[in-house]
Amino acid sequence: EENLKEVPVAPPYNLSEYFKQFLFPQNECELHNFRLSFSQLKWDKWIIAPHRYSPQYCKGECPRVVGHRYGSPVHTMVQNIIYEKLDSTVPRPSCVPAEYSPLSVLTIEPDGSIVYKEYEDMIATRCTCR
């Protein structure tokens, strides 16, 4: 009963969001959606396809003990210890992409020829701390 008193009251209709904050820590390293269209960059004159491109990005804090959840190398934990115990000018591990998927692009070359090309590592699909 005492615990209940301390728990902040949340509007009933948002219960799943309310409980989520206890399950997952906030602002932790994760993949975020980001979608752009080449017309925004005024590249659509020569990029014929795709019209839209979702590169995504990684953002968030890296927890102290990363372990298997992020697939981080052991060095990540060592860097954390250096930051906390030895030299705080050494940055904490960063939240960066760990895996990508390719992107196919159809473009017009300056000489008017047309090229279809598959580019490596153009869409972030998973994040890690390192």
């Binding site: 839209r52 196919s104 279809y116 580019y119």
Partner: protein, 303 residues
């Protein structure tokens, strides 16, 4: 990846710099050889823009020649067949190429002569392949013909194509002399899409392998309506070669920036970060054999 597309002056990584970029800092041995910046200029366009010079400089370059609308339509169809809506290469496509280039001829010398029975079209075509980079290796080359609307759909056509490569002798004449040639005949049904792909890989391979930048060929096309197999009489010459063919090159780009389908498969096998999904659609580079070998391996391990 953002550091890959850029030449940086970075002592520790040992990356090289272009001579005019603060070369004073590094000893001349580490300078890029002259002309590499020109090679740099041939980076795929997307990477060139993403690299340090930014989109504005790209737009300020010479105006872009507009491609032939038929060619554009064909390449859009190829794109839809090869990539998903999000633009990701389709995993089910087990094609080896990661680059396809379509060139339209940049100059023509037309000859047209007609005799009683046939309508013969002969045209000299010059293709400029400057955009093909040293790391793009030819897998297949195709002459792409499109029919004009006058040909009825699903009609049976017999064509004879006479292809010859021309070499410039330095007398400076516009249409140079013939060096080697090939003749073959085609029989096909005109489908809804009205494209005919003529595989000329073996014919062009020696030229493209020697990094020839200009390919000059004469194409002699004769078509008659009718189906020789069903003994229908060949009659009614067909007006097929009005639009000069485009040249389609299927290439494998071995540069680091290009997607290497097989590498990513191998990587996934070595580092299964996630449990492998039983039903994942693996593209099987070695065909069914591999599945068997996996089955055998599993049974051997079980034994």
């Amino acid at each position: 990846p953002h550091s890959r597309g850029r030449i940086v002056s970075d002592k520790t990584s040992g990356l090289l710099v272009a001579p005019e970029d603060n070369a004073g800092e590094l000893n001349p041995l580490l300078w890029l050889p002259k002309g590499v910046r020109r090679g740099y200029a041939l980076l795929p366009p997307l990477l060139k823009v993403l690299s340090d010079r930014g989109p504005q400089s790209w737009e300020s370059e010479a105006p872009r020649l507009q491609p032939d609308s038929r060619a554009l339509r064909y390449m859009k169809r190829l794109y839809k067949m090869s990539a998903t809506k999000e633009g990701i290469p389709k995993a089910t496509k087990s094609h080896l190429y990661n680059t396809v280039r379509l060139f339209t001829p940049c100059s023509e010398c037309k000859h047209r002569h007609r005799d009683l029975m046939k309508d013969i079209h002969s045209v000299d075509l010059l293709f400029n392949l400057d955009r093909v980079t040293a790391l793009e290796h030819l897998l297949k080359s195709v002459l792409l013909y499109s029919f004009d609307t006058s040909v009825p759909i699903s009609s049976s056509i017999k064509c004879t194509c006479h292809l010859s490569i021309k070499e410039h002798d330095f007398s400076g004449q516009v249409c140079p002399s013939i060096s080697h040639s090939i003749a073959f005949s085609l029989h096909f049904e005109v489908r809804k899409r009205k494209w005919v792909e003529i595989d000329v890989t073996s014919f062009l391979q020696p030229l493209i392998a020697t990094k020839r930048r200009n390919i000059h060929m004469a194409v002699n096309f004769t078509c008659l309506m009718g189906d020789p197999q069903q003994n229908t009489k060949l009659e009614n010459p067909v007006n097929v070669a009005l639009v000069p063919p485009s040249l389609l090159l299927y290439l494998n780009d071995t540069s680091e920036q290009a997607y290497h389908r097989w590498n990513s498969l191998r990587y996934r096998r070595k580092n299964p970060v996630r449990p492998r999904r039983r039903n994942s659609l693996h593209v099987d580079p070695a065909g069914d054999k591999e599945k068997d070998s996996q089955g055998k391996r599993a049974s051997r391990q079980r034994r």
